[in-house]
């Protein structure tokens, strides 16, 4: 790997490059990106400064700060469209089981997909619509899109480094849990089962699968293969604060049997 060369225009190769000696766990492919709020990063933060002159909330299309005084009037307004595309969606579903599908409420879309169409427009202006909740009016304005990847010092290509202007040190993790253990119990596997496992040591017999909750404490080979959500069976937050390293690595779906010295 040490003698590799990469075409500076090949951003994919730069993104996928694994430095010599680094285990896979150092690479982005091992980090989750459905961030609510995330584990390694709350990567929603990378979009807060995507438009030059204002700062957005990491999760909602709300203007929370202004960096260009000329845009001061947009403070507190809601971004509703970019280049004519809504960044909100309707939430709909049945209010009673088996009932008709009804409009329930509205919700903003996640930044990563809502703004994907403008990622290649760095340095150019796009048309943005903002909604003022007081006047209930939408105002459109052209805003410059920041480049996502650093270009300084890369005259003939693009780097794979996220631009310093998008996030200062600490900002990519600022909206994560504090400490990280907080919510680690409740954030069940509908987020990140591939690195924060949920169902382990499972066995299937006659079409029925039994296994254990990853957080099942003090388990051993004789612990019944019964998935439990009972607090008494699971590690507590105090356990996680004081001794989170009791959590087990899971290899091939099973508790890792650590070799001893």
């Amino acid at each position: 790997m040490a003698n590799n060369k990469i075409d500076p225009k090949n951003v994919s190769a730069q993104l996928q490059y694994r430095a010599r000696g680094n285990p896979p766990a150092t690479q982005p492919v091992t980090a989750i990106s459905n961030c609510f709020p995330g584990l390694e990063f709350d990567f929603r933060n990378i979009w807060r400064r995507i438009f030059v002159g204002l700062v957005l909330h990491e999760a909602r299309p709300l203007v929370v700060d202004i960096e260009d005084p000329q845009l001061e009037g947009f403070r507190g307004q809601l971004l509703v469209s970019v280049e004519g595309e809504d960044i909100w969606t309707q939430v709909s579903g049945p209010q009673v089981s088996g009932g008709p599908v009804q409009n329930l409420s509205g919700s903003s879309l996640e930044w990563a997909n809502a703004l994907a169409s403008i990622v290649e427009r760095g340095g150019n202006e796009v048309r943005c619509g903002f909604y003022d909740r007081n006047s209930q009016q939408v105002t459109e304005v052209n805003l410059q899109v920041r480049r996502i990847f650093e270009q300084e010092g890369v005259p003939d290509g693009e780097s794979a480094v996220l631009a310093a202007s998008l996030a200062q040190p600490g900002e990519l993790t600022q909206s994560l849990c504090s400490p990280w253990q907080n919510d680690y119990r409740e954030c069940a596997c509908y987020y990140w089962a591939a690195s924060r496992p949920d169902f382990v040591n499972s066995e299937e017999e006659n079409g029925v699968t039994q296994g254990q909750n990853w957080l099942h404490k003090d388990r051993g080979p004789d612990t019944p293969k019964t998935y439990s959500l009972r607090n008494a069976d699971l590690v507590s937050y105090e356990d996680l604060f004081r001794d989170w390293e009791q959590l087990r690595f899971i290899i091939r779906g099973q508790d890792e049997d650590e070799p001893q010295d």
Partner: protein, 560 residues
């Protein structure tokens, strides 16, 4: 970008590789010990490949993942990037000591909630060019005098003849918890000064503080039943993220001006990856790829849809899918609603399980494994219609919640969608815009295979499509449940009429008219170019030498 992972051991994690099994694309990846750089006294002294992959040291402490960062450079216009070495520097009349490093990291979690600059915990190595270990000491205006949080350390490794590259190593913090009170058994140090700052008394929604995070209240706190507030107890951790900067002054050349070259990298530290042989269905690499290349694709490598579904398989293998589906009477608790079925109630949607079918974890795994296998066997993606589009995340109808990835939560709190680029890659596969190195080998069909033998192979081949038939009744069961037993599915074909929204003009007619393929509804459905099974049934079924439609027609013709 390099991710470090916390651990209290003083022995950083060795290197390893994740190896796929070509013989079985659904098998767990193997962790293979790999060439590990040995660091001693500020330099790399050799390479070692350990005998096994060990995530803990002899005392059971977790070994931190401590990444190396290399400096790359191009030496001519439009030249390639390559690792910068001591020899390169010497050729320029420079030396490794001319490299200037600076590392700034921070933990802004308290600041993000309180909005007070005094709650920023920041570490700055300052400029350095030596090969000493530089602690990243997280300091904060609102800490008690002399207190700090260790974010780990960085070290510029001295290049030598065997390892001449210019590189730095980041070793993260041990993963401890800090707070305001001395003697708190949950914390290792009382760093926060409650007389200066408000973090230990913060509550989301507090007037004068920034708009809350989403989700909110994700700090350790206590619920005050009198005020209805969830109040922080002031805990902090030693995770952080930051920027590594390295610069080099080039001397003036041929009467030109001196120039300073600069390179940046991002680092972070977070919790360990506790399932290191598994990858997320939507991971940061997917995110970065879309940010770099956009949401659309013209074509796709044949292996890419397989990779995406493989990551979904990795994920569901570690999920208790009955719990995630919202089934009740599981896990020994009276109410199971910590799942998407429960989260949907927040929008006013009725609580009910997401799928009204067998969601035993093995059944769900088999569905994904069969899909991976079919893609590995050369099928293009046939499942585009059930892959959620990014604008469909708020569709909480039954059909909307059945889309993939199912039972998982996205960054907006709604049902998870893949990146638009991931879905575009699946769409390209579905539409045949596929780049293949070579056509997959098709096994020779047995010479004496009967029509029913071939039909059974076809049923096996299409096992992974079972969930697409969850909405079609088959007696007391959904048709999807019949796919696991070929006999049951054959009986369905023989005894049931065409049903379901896509059966169109032949709805209600017999699926099979023995001896008469042309008048059998199943054949007319499969011949319809608008039906989603038309394309999959136009391709050969492995081991039969016939297309799916030919297998069906031959079997019906053989019936009397």
């Amino acid at each position: 970008m390099a991710i470090a992972r916390i651990g209290s051991s003083d022995q950083p994690m060795d290197n390893y590789d994740l190896q796929d099994f070509k013989e079985d694309p659904t098998a767990y990846r193997e962790l293979i010990p790999a060439e590990t750089l040995v660091v001693e006294d500020g330099r790399i002294t050799g390479l070692e490949t350990p005998s096994s992959v060990r995530f803990r040291d002899g005392q059971g402490r977790i070994r931190p993942v401590a990444p190396f960062l290399e400096v790359w450079a191009a030496f001519e216009d439009e030249g390639s990037l390559e690792p910068l070495t001591a020899q390169h520097l010497e050729d320029l009349g420079l030396s490794p000591s001319d490299m200037r490093w600076r590392v700034r990291t921070a933990n802004l979690k308290a600041f993000r909630r309180t909005g007070r600059d005094g709650d920023k915990v920041e570490a700055d190595s300052g400029p350095f060019s030596d090969h000493q270990n530089h602690d990243l000491r997280g300091e904060c205006v609102n800490f008690k005098d002399g207190k700090s949080i260790p974010f780990g350390s960085v070290q510029y490794l001295e290049p030598n003849d065997e390892f001449p590259e210019i590189r730095l190593r980041f070793v993260p913090g041990p993963g401890k918890v800090y707070g305001p009170a001395a003697g708190d058994p949950n914390t290792v140090d009382d760093v926060y000064d409650a007389s200066r700052g408000t973090w230990d008394n913060h509550f989301d929604g507090q007037p004068g503080t920034p708009t809350s995070t989403v989700p909110g209240n994700i700090y350790t706190g206590r619920f005050n039943s009198q005020t209805g507030r969830y109040v922080s107890v002031g805990y902090l951790d030693d995770a952080c993220d930051g920027i590594v900067e390295v610069s080099l002054d080039l001397p003036a050349e041929d009467g030109g001006q001196a120039e300073t070259l600069t390179a940046l990298a991002r680092i972070s530290s977070g919790p360990p990856d506790f399932a290191p042989d598994s990858l997320h269905v939507r991971n940061l690499a997917d995110e970065l790829e879309q940010m770099a290349l956009g949401p659309e694709v013209e074509d796709v490598e044949a292996s890419r849809p397989q990779e995406i579904v493989r990551h979904a398989l990795d994920t569901v293998r570690l999920m208790e899918t009955r719990v995630m589906n919202g089934n009740q009477n599981v896990g020994g608790v009276g109410n199971n609603s910590n799942n998407m079925a429960g989260q949907d109630q927040g929008y006013g949607r009725a609580f009910e399980p997401i799928f009204n079918m067998n969601v035993d974890p093995s059944a769900v795994r088999n569905f994904h494994a069969n899909t991976v296998q079919a893609l590995a066997d050369g099928s293009n993606a046939w499942f585009l219609d059930i892959v959620r589009q990014f604008r469909e995340v708020g569709d909480l109808s039954n059909a909307g919640r059945h889309k993939m990835p199912a039972m998982m939560r996205g960054s907006d709190g709604l049902h998870l969608a893949l990146t638009r680029r991931q879905r575009a890659q699946i769409q390209a596969s579905a539409e045949g815009r596929v780049i293949r190195d070579e056509e997959p080998d098709q096994p020779e069909p047995p010479a004496d295979a009967s029509p029913e033998d071939d039909l059974r192979r076809l049923i096996q081949h299409f096992q992974s499509r079972a969930p697409l038939h969850a909405g079609i009744p088959s007696g007391a069961e959904p048709l999807s449940s019949r796919f696991a037993d070929p006999d049951q599915l054959i009986q369905h074909l023989l005894n049931q009429p065409a049903q379901g929204a896509l059966s169109g003009a032949v709805r209600g007619q017999p699926l099979v008219v023995p001896g008469d393929p042309a008048n059998s509804a199943i054949v007319r459905i499969l011949r319809n170019p608008g039906h989603p099974m038309n394309a999959p049934f136009s391709r050969p079924v492995p081991g039969t030498g016939r297309t799916g439609l030919e297998v069906i027609e031959r079997w019906i013709a053989s019936l009397s």
